[in-house]
Amino acid sequence: MKMKEYELFIGPQHPGITGNMMYHLWVDGDTVVKAECNVGYLHRGFEKLMESRTWMQNIPLVCRICVPDPDVNEMAYSMAVERLMGWREEVPERARYIRTVVLELSRIAAYLMGIGSYAGALGIYTLPQWALGDRDYIMDIFEQLTGARIYHIYIWPGGVRWDMPADLPKLIEKTMKYLEKRLKLYDDVFFKNRIFFDRAVDIGVIPKEKAIEWGVTGPNLRASGHEYDVRRLEPYAAYENIDFDVIHYPELGKFDVLSSGGDAYTRMLVRRLEIEQSISIIRQALKKMPSGEHLLKHPNWFKWEVPPGIAYERVESSKGEYGYMVVSDGGKKPVRVHVRGPSYTHGINVAETILKGANIADVSQILFSLDICPPDIER
């Protein structure tokens, strides 16, 4: 019988967890001695399901892999299929811009949710209320654009499902303006709050040297001090024509650089600042958006066969690098679709490492600051 440590379970039913997963903690006093991640509570066997569905039937399925940020799935899957079909260069220009807008809107929504839940983990319930309320305006845009709030099924291989309505840019611009106004309020309440500094600085540090080796990607990697963004490194959609900053430590804009990077504080600030970048990207994309076709002509969906081959495509999601490996043997169904969710590494190996030695008061904020999305771990 172990006498010194006791065990705590953060999850699966616990407010301090980012979804339905579990961390098994061994705690001495209030310091975590050992952490073990336990997942599988959401395992639906997506990859198995995709092998038994046709190429088009998979589109409604993939978006369900990451619930807070579903569009990246459709995007990455479509890109991989386009790559196999040889459509990579043929996707209409307008579709690329619409995709950019959709992805960035979805990113903002996911960031608002991430920031809100993180603030909730720190115990300020005003910000989650505001942020999630504001997120709903983005949901409204999606509803007008795609007809659905969460699962849009909008980005298809070869373009987007419907053209963007003519009056939507006006609504988007209005929402963006509103969001910019609200962001100032968020800063006052939370991001410039002294207690946020006290709580988050130097908590859950991912060191810069280790970050890449550990497989950290996305905002978490940028918070550790690497200026890497898939949108910049391997541009997809219309990102090559759009000018934006890759927010990374130590360039934190108007916020003080208090820590040495890679901690919960920096991770949250990177997310906060990227919302502004996303707003700017959306504005540019709307301005530069050409008219024209929005979708390539599809073959008959039921007879659609994709040429054999293997393709890997990555996109930058709000949580990190999202990748799809699609393997085809020339049939009507994929042989194998493997999803690389960013939370797979963040949630399991990285979290288990950085939770060691953390205070139990900080466990929840570390998990929320990594922005772990359990469904993309277990698919």
């Binding site: 599988g40 990607t217 890997y312 490996m325 493997h338 690389r340 797979y344 190996n349």
Partner: protein, 155 residues
């Protein structure tokens, strides 16, 4: 392609370097690439080629400096063949190997954490294998369970 210069083989498939190797060479290759700025281990996939009777293990690596993606592919027999664990090279390989062990039944020698991962108390064949028929499984397992009827009131 820079990666091709470093390891001196492979072919370009859909914009990615695709290298087919024997399973003994994988470790050396990944080590070389890691030392040459291919430091981001993306993922480890397994593909079940049931007609060939083989599993294909694909190690994906990416270099932020060269902006290149490398897939190192090796094939092992579906039954009875094992693979060396590479979790000492990149810590997250441990988790991918855990998943593949559970989903395909491939054993990785040297990985001590091949414990049940997604599934709990799974008594059947690893489900991601192509010969696992999930429709039959559903019929046998979940659909055979009777609904609970309330005799008295029928709520």
């Amino acid at each position: 392609m820079k990666a091709k210069e470093i390891i001196g083989r492979g072919e370009e498939v859909h914009g990615r370097l695709y290298v087919k190797v024997e399973k003994q060479e994988v470790r050396e290759l990944i080590k070389t690439l890691k030392e040459n700025k291919f430091q981001h281990f993306v993922m480890l996939s397994c593909i079940d080629w049931i007609d060939d009777g083989e599993f294909e293990l694909v190690y994906h690596l990416w270099s932020y400096e060269y902006r290149e993606h490398v897939m190192i592919s090796t094939r092992i027999k579906r039954e009875g063949e094992e693979m060396e664990s590479l979790h000492d090279l990149f810590p997250q390989i441990e988790t991918y190997e855990r998943e593949i062990k559970e989903m395909y039944g491939v054993n990785f020698i040297g990985n001590e954490r091949l414990t049940p991962f997604f599934l709990e108390g799974w008594p059947h064949m690893p489900p991601m294998r192509k010969d696992f028929d999930s429709k039959k499984f559903i019929k046998d397992v979940f659909e055979s369970i009777p609904p609970v009827e309330d005799e008295d009131e029928g709520i």
